[in-house]
């Protein structure tokens, strides 16, 4: 036994030495940057384009490597906050304002002005995604807007007219019922659905209700308008069966991450429409040529769409500051934007590239003509970024909203109870956070005072200065309704 112990010890030492020496070393001549993002052909194409751009611009060469192990924010957070984060990181959704708040992301306001990727270079509506308190913390990698993709073949198959570009909730319901009746004769094994989901936040916004109030100090989801929307969602899922419930959705898809199956159901006709961004083309194109159209999601009232950018930030403790900031500059450059147009990974961050012929009518894909224009128009005109409050961690918001909606759909709660529970839970969360963080409490108290002023003015029917409103939705809504004070010209 002792012999085998010693033998295994020797073997292990040998193996470890081998492993250690065969780790591909960093080339010491040029700096190596790590970019936390997803590893797929598009990102690799971006990396190649970046290297090429550096060469073309006669800038010092750099090696950019992709680090693909970010399932959730956990790793980014733990490593970043302990000082060993990666140089460049993708910031998805709520991370875009969470991470800078922790101090982990570099403030690049000055560099942006100097190198040419200031906020003005991209869509104005995207600013909340990478501008916090007036400082810039990154730049968008693309602009994403979600609309309803229509598989024209599916509609034609069941002889149901296609929806118009702009439609109301009642029209949606009517057309949806007509569709599922035509597409699901009795005895059918696999049910055909009208759409995979409806965007609850956008529907609420249509009625003038956002997740929070104007200063993001209170969660407003306990409002009766939310009850209306939730009730509709419940009815459409459980009674009219226009959309699959979570369980039915699970039955249709077996994947944890990504929606590979959603697209296969779209192409095979089990979903007549899917609500997803323009990046769907990346997945749809290899699967065949489908006659596609894109229409707005149905909504009542104020038309709005969900605009989001995948923004990229630089780690505050990076050892390659200059080179990492160059990458942000690259994102505003022509080669990168043309690449995005070509691979259809969302809309290019610089708006003018979304007006090119190549984008609007790609020569290789005539079956898509018209969809790109719809997305570009939505991003420009109706897109609003999601409502986030500095007092609620968005991961908690997302979890609470999703779980409570699921509980409602599985029949455990009514719509009214769900709305109330959402409001209660999230407001409790706000209370907990400001209780803990003195700086946050100060901010909260200031904002509450402003909120009272806003409420007073609204009650009196007087206009409100735009500077008072923090929430991007309310800003757009007020502007559309004419409730804002005319802005002073500088």
């Amino acid at each position: 036994m002792k012999r085998s112990f010693l033998i295994s010890l020797a073997l292990l030492s040998l193996a470890s030495a081998l492993l250690y020496w065969t780790v591909p070393g960093k080339r010491t001549d040029i700096p190596v940057l790590y970019w936390i993002t997803q590893d797929d052909e598009n990102k690799r194409a971006t990396v190649a384009a970046f290297h090429q751009w550096l060469a073309d611009e006669h800038l010092p060469p750099v090696e950019l490597r992709i680090d693909n192990t970010n399932g959730e924010a956990t790793k980014k957070l733990v490593q970043g906050l302990s000082g060993v984060g990666s140089d460049i990181m993708d910031l998805y959704g709520y991370e875009a304002d969470l991470f800078p708040a922790t101090g982990m992301i570099l403030d690049v306001t000055e560099d942006a002005k100097r190198l040419g990727f200031p906020p003005a270079a991209t869509y104005p509506a995207l600013k909340p995604d990478f501008i916090i308190n007036g400082r810039q913390y990154g730049f968008p990698r693309n602009a994403g807007v979600a609309l309803n993709w229509i598989n024209r073949g599916t509609f034609a198959k069941y002889h149901v007219p296609e929806p118009p570009m702009h439609w109301t909730l009642d029209e949606f319901e009517a057309l949806g019922k007509k569709f599922v009746a035509a597409a699901n004769p009795p005895g059918i094994r696999e049910r055909v659905y009208f759409v995979n989901l409806v965007p609850r936040e956008q529907l609420r916004r249509g009625l003038g209700l956002a997740n929070y109030n104007e200063t993001d100090t209170r969660c407003t989801l306990d409002d009766p308008r939310n009850v209306q929307i939730l009730e509709r969602v419940r009815r459409w899922t459980l009674e009219d069966r226009l959309m699959p419930s979570r369980e039915e959705g699970e039955a249709m898809s077996a994947d944890i991450s990504g929606d590979g199956s959603m697209f296969s159901h779209f192409t095979s006709g089990r979903f007549a429409m899917v609500y997803v961004g323009q990046w769907a083309l990346i997945i749809l194109r290899p699967r065949g040529t489908f006659q596609l159209r894109a229409v707005e999601p149905a909504m009542d009232g104020f038309v709005n769409t969900d605009l989001g950018g995948g923004s990229v930030g630089v780690y505050a403790r990076t050892q390659h500051r200059k080179e990492s900031v160059r990458f942000l500059q690259f994102l505003a450059s022509a080669p990168f934007n043309n690449l995005i147009v070509r691979i259809a990974d969302g809309l290019p961050p610089v708006p003018k590239y979304a007006e090119t012929e190549e984008f609007l009518r790609p020569s290789d894909h005539p079956n898509e003509w018209g969809t790109a224009a719809a997305f570009a128009e939505a991003a420009r005109d109706t897109g609003i970024t999601m409502s986030k409050s500095p007092f609620v961690l968005h991961s908690i918001f997302y979890r609470v909203e999703k779980e409570l909606t699921e509980a409602m759909i599985s029949g455990r709660m009514t719509a009214a109870q769900t709305a109330k529970a959402m409001g209660d839970r999230l407001n409790q969360e706000i209370a907990l956070r400001i209780d803990r963080d003195p700086a946050l409490r100060k901010l909260y108290d200031e904002r509450v005072r402003v909120q009272q002023l806003i409420d007073a003015r609204r009650a009196a029917g007087k206009p409100v200065p735009a500077a008072w409103i923090n929430d991007p939705f309310h800003l757009a809504y007020y502007r559309a309704k004419g409730w804002l004070e005319p802005e002073a010209r500088p």
Binding site: M1, S4, F5, S8, L9, L11, L12, A15, S16, L19, Y20, V23, P24, Y34, Q38, D39, D40, R65, D67, N68, T69, G71, T74, K75, V78, Q79, S82, G83, V84, S86, S253, A254, D255, I256, S257, G258, D259, G260, S261, F263, S264, I282, I283
Partner: protein
Amino acid sequence: MAETQTPFRKKTVITAERSGPGLSLVLAALSLLMIAPFVWMALTSFKTLSESSDPEWMPGAFRWSNYPEVFKVIPFLRFAANSLVMAGWVTILQVFTSALAAFSFARLEWPGRDRVFFLYLGTMMLPGLVTLIPTFQLMVRLDLVDTYLGLVLPAAFGAFGTFLLRQFMMGIPRALDEAAEIDGASKWQIFWDVILPLSRPGLVTLAIFTFMGNFQSFFWPLVMMKTVDKFPLPVGLMFFDTQHGQATHLLMAAVTMSVIPLIIIFVLLQKQLIRGIQLGGVKG
């Protein structure tokens, strides 16, 4: 006590009279049940992506090409080698240090012994998650992040091995060590020449447990490692989660392949286990 025991419901205990081909059949049936998920996994590794979400067990055509494709998507051999070497080191360290410590707890008498043992035991009762961030920050300070050493060290010293070996050692009759002590053996000699060989079943058992457990560890390496080439296999499997969904068929192929070295190691260690038990001759 001649009281009759009432029939007691438990999992099937085959009686001696009924064994024979019956027992073999039961075992074969049970093992089929146990490996059924694996059969599914192996079969799925030959399917296409869309087939892998079907309820149908058999693939339409056996796509052997999935296996080479795994090597294209991830550096499988490297990940497997990382896992094997890391788990190997942790095992050796654990077994060795735990044996020493268990000897101290099981055989030696010193003031405060039982209290320290309770401390050991107590540390196992706290969920490892909350100590992860402090441990990680400790690693940062020691500059061991993204190193192989940093992966091995925190896992190599745990209370579990000590507890297990202590139980084993307590089952060895003291008559043997007392005899050796009378012969003038020092404590180290008693440990090395008497107790250690007799605890072979325990040692091998601990080795198996530690190796298997460490091979599967996912969360700690996820947080610790940054260089892709140093990832162990469970973390490496994450590469199959792409933006377009999970490449199930490739994932299953990778997992099937990863099971093979483990089976080999287990079979080898198993032989040791049996030999040790047979040579034990503990009771006398």
